[in-house]
């Protein structure tokens, strides 16, 4: 019996995990979310930015990580729009341009913001760190046109914008490389623009050293970070809903670990 449990067929574990995620999605629980300091820091920083300033958001994620990253981008954009801050969006990931489109479509409508006046989507540019550096030198040569290939000179939001000096904050919502780390290493270290960011929960531990060394303003780690930001913004979005499923699945994995250790010790006693 013990042998059997110790070598439990992985497929049984898979089945439990599947159910643990599926059931809360059908029947939401509405568990509360405590806000952590790195998330609070971003929120507080944005609250101190004067109205009418510029902030850029780099959409460095694709459809495969949309579930984690989009809620963050949505929450931050909503806060920026609520405070009447202008937003310039671009992407270092090819699929990022259409991700930005999604986010701006939803939030722009909600806060009655006009494209080209209150926000703009500059589209995708290849090159990673090289591109981040180019933007620091001259944003107009990096992004002469917006995502629909219309010259950025036609839009008032880009009036007089030259490089990072025009931005009060940079936000990178990133699912890997290039992304948040490259912005810290290039945009923050070389050009001195404050960087805040969201990243997938998996890369969050890697970002802690930068958070610790104050090379970035704050950090949203994964769906939890997004859910915390939603809590700060006072609404229940996809991240908050997804957290229920995560809580149950987490608990399940914790139970599995406890069980495997009990079996292990019982076997050892024998």
């Amino acid at each position: 019996m013990l042998e059997k449990l110790a070598n439990l067929d992985r497929r049984i574990i898979f089945l439990f995990v599947g159910l643990a995620v599926l059931i809360p999605i059908i029947f939401p629980l509405g568990l509360p979310n405590a806000v952590s300091q790195p998330v609070q820091n971003i929120y507080d920083f944005v609250e101190t930015i004067p109205e009418g300033s510029l902030v850029f958001i780099s959409f460095d994620y694709g459809p495969s990580t949309k579930i984690e990253c989009e809620p963050m981008a949505l929450a931050v954009t909503k806060q920026l729009f609520r405070r009447n801050i202008k937003v310039v969006g671009w992407a270092l990931w090819p699929e990022g341009a259409s991700m930005a489109r999604n986010v701006f479509d939803v939030t722009g409508k909600e806060y009655n913001k006009k494209y080209g006046v209150d926000y703009i989507n500059l589209g995708y540019k290849a090159g990673g760190s090289i591109t981040i550096k180019e933007i620091g030198e001259d944003i107009r040569s990096t992004f002469p046109q917006d995502v629909d290939n219309i010259s950025i000179d036609k839009y008032s939001v880009m009036d007089g914008v030259k490089n990072y000096k025009n931005f009060k904050l940079g936000v990178s919502v990133s699912a890997g490389v290039p992304g948040l780390r490259e912005y810290i290493v290039v945009a923050n270290s070389i050009f001195g623009v404050p960087i805040a960011g969201g990243c997938t929960a998996v890369s969050a531990p890697e970002m802690y050293p930068y958070l610790n060394s104050k090379q970035m303003v704050g950090l949203m780690g994964g769906l939890k970070g997004a859910a915390e930001y939603e809590t700060l913004m006072n609404y229940v979005g996809d991240a908050s809903k997804g957290m229920d499923a995560q809580s149950i699945a987490h608990l399940l994995i914790v139970l599995f670990v406890i069980m495997s250790n009990i079996i292990f010790f019982m076997q050892k006693k024998k």
Partner: protein, 213 residues
Amino acid sequence: MKREIPLFVCVVSALAMIIAYYSPKLDWMDDMLQKWFLIIAVFAFILGAISIILVNGNRISKQVPGWGYNVVLLIGLFVTLGLGIFGGIDPKTPFFYIFTYIFTPLSATMFSLLAFFIASAAFRAFKAKTWEATLLLIAAFIVMLGRVPLGELMWSWLPVLKHYSLNNLVENWIMGCFNTAGQRAILLGASVGLISISLKILLGIERPYMGGE
């Protein structure tokens, strides 16, 4: 001749990058050479494509059992590539349709398999077999609890411990202190190793481009 020139090319391009990093005047060199790199890498796709065609074509022509799947692979490759090159990659093109309804769900689902595998890995690996494994287990256990609202709820039922914030323990002490220290030690050690290997390449002691000799 067949050996000296590659070494020479390697040393010159490495030195060019190093100098460009320190010299603002030669900064452009860095950008340009990296763009060259990207261009060469795209040419390399032709080699990749040849490899795919050879491996799959071979199986098809020999009619190895399951050769039909190799046909699927080649069709997938050529249709996507052809549409992307001749039809463009903008939204509303057929290429974008393939991206949205084939590529995206496949990659998202493949990625989501991790939810299952992380559970089976935890079940198997997190056993208090040795003292190292026990530390791994305890750290993982506390962090897992701290990452979900339900964990905090459970923590508050514990005697004594409930007076300390679980969130603070996880975010500040385990992630902020121990995880940062561990990551930092790995980063620092690895950087020294990385610089050493780069130097060996520069000195011609390591020549991976020559076939590892």
